[in-house]
Subunit: 418 residues, 2 copies
C-alpha cells in the first residue's frame, strides 16, 4: 500500500478534523459563536490539555519547553534526522474565531491521525507544535513562543512580561502546568509548515481554494505626534491657528497615498488616533497617531519610509507645526524557502485544487521559523476575509483541502519509509 | 461736582479692582496660578459669599432668584425706571483663570464703589449681576442662569440637570444657600453691559486696549459619524478597503476649507475625534467627530452649512461609505443694540483709549440678555489670547481701562441725577 499510487490517493478525514476544531472551540466559546481563550489563562490551559490528550491518543510523545511551547512527536524511521514540523497556536483574540491558529495545530494532528490510519511510516520524524501566545492580546511581544524558540528575543524577557493585572508569563505558565523543562531552541527542525486561514479577502475574491504562500509583508510601525497650539474654536481667527489635527489629517491621507504609489503589495494604515484635549470647542493642540506601512519588497518598503519622512519634512517646513515621527517596530519582508513553497505548490497541483500564489499581510509564527529552518505556509479562504472576529468562518471543504495539502507537502519533505 | 467736566474726569480705582480680582481668585486657587471653582460647588458658594459681602459693604441690596442668579442693587433717583445692569459670572472652568467672568462682575462692583466714593446718584437704579453656571463644565446647558432668566430654557429643566455624580442643580443650589425665592425673569432690565476678556488674540495683535463688541458669532455644532468596514491592516489590499478614517479626514479638512471661503468671520473646527476600534493594525470601521462652524452673518453662516452638506453628499456618493451628519446645537449670530454699542464706543473715545470694533467668537451671558434688553459688551485683551487656562492673564492697566469704559457707558445710559 505504500506505492506512490496509493500515496497519491491518500486523504485526511475532513469530518474528524472539523469535529476536533468544533470541540476545541467549545473551550472558551462565546455567545456570538467565537472563542475567547487568551494566552495562559485557565481556558488556554484547558484547550492545551485537550489537544495534548488527542496527541497522546494518537501515540505522540509530548515535550513542553520553558516558554510553554508544546511539541508532539511521531518517530520516523531515521530518528537522527531533524523532524518535519507542522503547527501554529491555540490562543485566541478576546473576540476571536474558531480557526485562526487552531486550524494549523489540528490540521497537523489530522495529518498524524491519517498516517496512523494507514500505518504509514515516514523517514524523518514528524512533530506537531502549539506555540505559546501568538496573538499578543494579553502579553507582548506577539508571536512570543516562536520568537523565543528562534532566539528573536530572550526567554527571560518573555517570562517577565506582565498582563494588565500584573500577572507574569512565568507565573501563569506554572499555574496552568505548562512551564516545561526544555530550554527553547535546542530542538533541531528540518522544515516547518503552517496551515492557516488567509485572514484577508484575496482567495475568496479569486475563487481559489489554496493560497501557496510565498512571502510575508514587511512591516514598519511608527508613532507620530503633531504638536500645534490649543486655543478657543470661537475666538481664534483661521489665520491665527496652529491646528494640530489639520496637519495630522494631511499626513494620515499621505499614508494611504504612499501605499497606493507602491502596488500591488504596498499597504498603509492609520488605525489609532488620539486628539488632545479632544473637546468640541477647542482647536486640537496635539494629535498622536499610529502609522503602519507594509510591502513585500524590501527596496519598495524602504522607499515608502523615505516618502513618509520627506512628506513630514515638507509639512513641518510649510506649517511651522512640530511633527515627531518615531519608528517603533520593524519586521523585514520574509520570503519563504523555495523548497517549501514548491512542496506546497506541487502538493496542491497533485491534489487538483485551484490555487494562486499568496502573500501574507499578517505575521505568523512561520515568520520567525523561517529564520531557522526552511518554511512554508498553506492558506485557505475565510468568509469575507474576516478574522480576529467571532464571526470568523471557513468552509469545511476548504479546511479539508488545506489539511490534504499539508499532508502531501510534509510527506514529500519527510520521505515515506519504503 | 456733578458737572459734566467733573464726570468726564471720573475714573475707577484700578488697584482696588485688581485687589478684589486677586482676592476672589484665592477661592479655589490652583497650584499653577489658575482657579477651579466649578458651578454650585462649596467653593462657588464661598466665592459668591465673598462677592455678596463686598456688595453689602458697598450698600447694595441683594436678591437671589430660583436659579441662583444674584442681583446686587443700588437705587437710583427714579426707582420706577428699570435698572441698568452690569455683570457676568463667577464660576470657572476646571482649569480656569482669574479673569473669565469674574472680571465682568467685579468691574461692575468697582463702578458702584467709584460712584459711592464720589456720592454720585444715577437716575435709573444700577444692578450688578452674577449669573449661575455660565461655563457649563459641571452642568449643561451652558449659560444656564442667564438662559433661564431670558426664558431660553425652562427653570425646571435647569434645576433637574445633574452632574456626573448625579447631583442636581436644585439640590446643589440649596446646599450652598443660593436657592432664592424670586421667579427668574420677573425683574425688568433697562440695559445690560458686560465687561470681559477677549479670550482671543485679535486685540493684542492690533495693540488695542478696548474692543467695542458689535456682535457674537453664530454657532452650529454637528456630530458626524462615518461608518466603513473594520478589517486587518496587513491582510486587506488597498483597493478592498472601506477605511472610515480616510473619508473622515477629508471632511475634517473641508471644515477648515469652508471657513476659509467665508472670511473674515468664518470659523471651522474639528475638536473631538473618536476612532473605532482604535487599534494600530485594524483599519478603522467607524469614526465619530464634532464639527463647529461659525459666522457673524446669518446668510454666510447658512451658506457654510449648505457647503458642508453638499460636500458630504459628494463624499458619500464617491466612496460608498455611510456618513451621518447631525446638527446638535444652533445659536444664531447676535448683533448688539446700536444704542449700547455706541455708548461703549463713545465712552472709549472720551477716555482716549485705543480701540477697534470686535466680534466675539465665544458665547457669553450677554448673548441671551440681548434677547430681552439692549445689550453691549466691553472687551479687553488677554495675554496671547489664552483663556480657559490657568495661565490666563490680563494686564492691570487693561483691567482698569475696561472698568472705566463700563463706568462711563453705564452713566450715559442710566443718567446722572442733577
Amino acid at each position: 500500500m505504500h506505492s506512490s499510487i496509493a500515496l497519491d490517493g491518500l486523504r485526511v478525514k475532513g469530518e474528524r478534523l472539523w469535529g476536533s476544531l468544533m470541540d476545541l472551540a467549545k473551550v472558551g466559546a462565546t455567545a456570538k459563536g467565537g472563542v475567547c481563550r487568551l494566552a495562559l489563562t485557565e481556558l488556554d490551559g484547558r484547550g492545551r490539555d485537550l489537544v495534548v490528550s488527542w496527541a497522546r491518543a494518537a501515540g505522540l510523545s509530548v515535550t513542553v519547553d520553558q516558554i510553554g511551547n508544546v511539541f508532539m512527536r511521531r518517530p520516523g524511521r531515521a530518528n537522527d534526522r531533524p523532524p518535519v514540523m507542522m503547527g501554529s497556536h491555540v490562543d485566541t483574540q478576546p473576540t476571536g474565531g474558531k480557526f485562526d491558529g487552531n486550524y494549523g495545530v489540528l490540521a497537523g494532528l489530522e495529518v498524524i491521525r491519517t498516517l496512523n490510519d494507514h500505518r504509514i511510516e515516514t523517514e524523518a520524524p514528524l512533530e506537531v507544535v502549539a506555540w505559546t501566545n501568538e496573538e499578543g492580546s494579553r502579553f507582548v511581544p506577539v508571536m512570543m513562543g516562536s520568537g523565543v524558540f528562534c532566539d528573536v528575543f530572550p526567554l527571560e524577557l518573555a517570562l517577565a512580561a506582565k498582563d494588565l493585572q500584573g500577572k507574569s508569563v512565568g507565573d501563569e505558565l506554572r499555574n496552568i502546568g505548562y512551564a516545561g523543562p526544555e530550554r527553547p531552541g535546542r530542538r533541531p527542525v528540518g522544515a516547518y509548515f503552517e496551515a492557516h486561514i488567509e485572514q484577508g479577502p484575496v482567495l475568496e475574491d479569486h475563487a481559489k481554494v489554496i493560497g501557496v504562500v510565498e512571502a510575508v509583508l514587511g512591516l514598519r510601525w511608527y508613532d507620530c505626534v503633531v504638536t500645534g497650539l490649543e486655543s478657543h474654536a470661537g475666538a481664534t481667527p483661521m489665520e491665527r491657528r496652529k491646528d494640530a489635527l489639520q496637519v495630522a489629517t494631511k499626513i494620515m491621507q499621505e499614508v494611504v497615498a504612499i501605499a497606493e504609489r507602491y502596488p500591488p503589495h504596498g499597504r498603509g494604515t492609520v488605525g489609532f488616533v488620539q486628539v488632545h484635549p479632544n473637546s468640541r470647542n477647542v482647536i486640537p493642540g496635539q494629535v498622536t497617531f499610529s502609522i503602519d506601512l507594509r510591502n513585500v519588497n524590501r527596496e519598495l518598503h524602504d522607499a515608502m519610509d523615505a516618502d513618509l519622512r520627506a512628506f513630514i519634512r515638507r509639512m513641518q517646513a510649510r506649517t511651522g507645526v512640530a511633527i515627531d515621527l518615531r519608528e517603533v517596530s520593524y519586521n523585514e519582508p520574509v520570503h519563504f524557502h523555495e523548497s517549501c513553497v514548491s512542496a506546497v505548490r506541487r502538493a496542491t497541483e497533485r491534489l487538483g485544487y485551484s490555487h494562486m500564489p499568496a502573500t501574507s499581510g499578517p505575521g505568523h509564527d512561520a515568520v520567525f521559523m523561517a529564520r531557522v529552518t526552511p518554511t512554508g505556509m498553506v492558506f485557505i479562504p475565510c468568509k469575507d476575509g474576516i478574522s480576529h472576529n467571532e464571526i470568523e468562518h471557513a468552509e469545511p471543504e476548504h479546511v479539508t483541502a488545506g489539511a490534504n495539502v499539508l499532508l502531501h507537502a510534509v510527506l514529500e519533505r519527510a520521505g515515506v519509509a519504503a
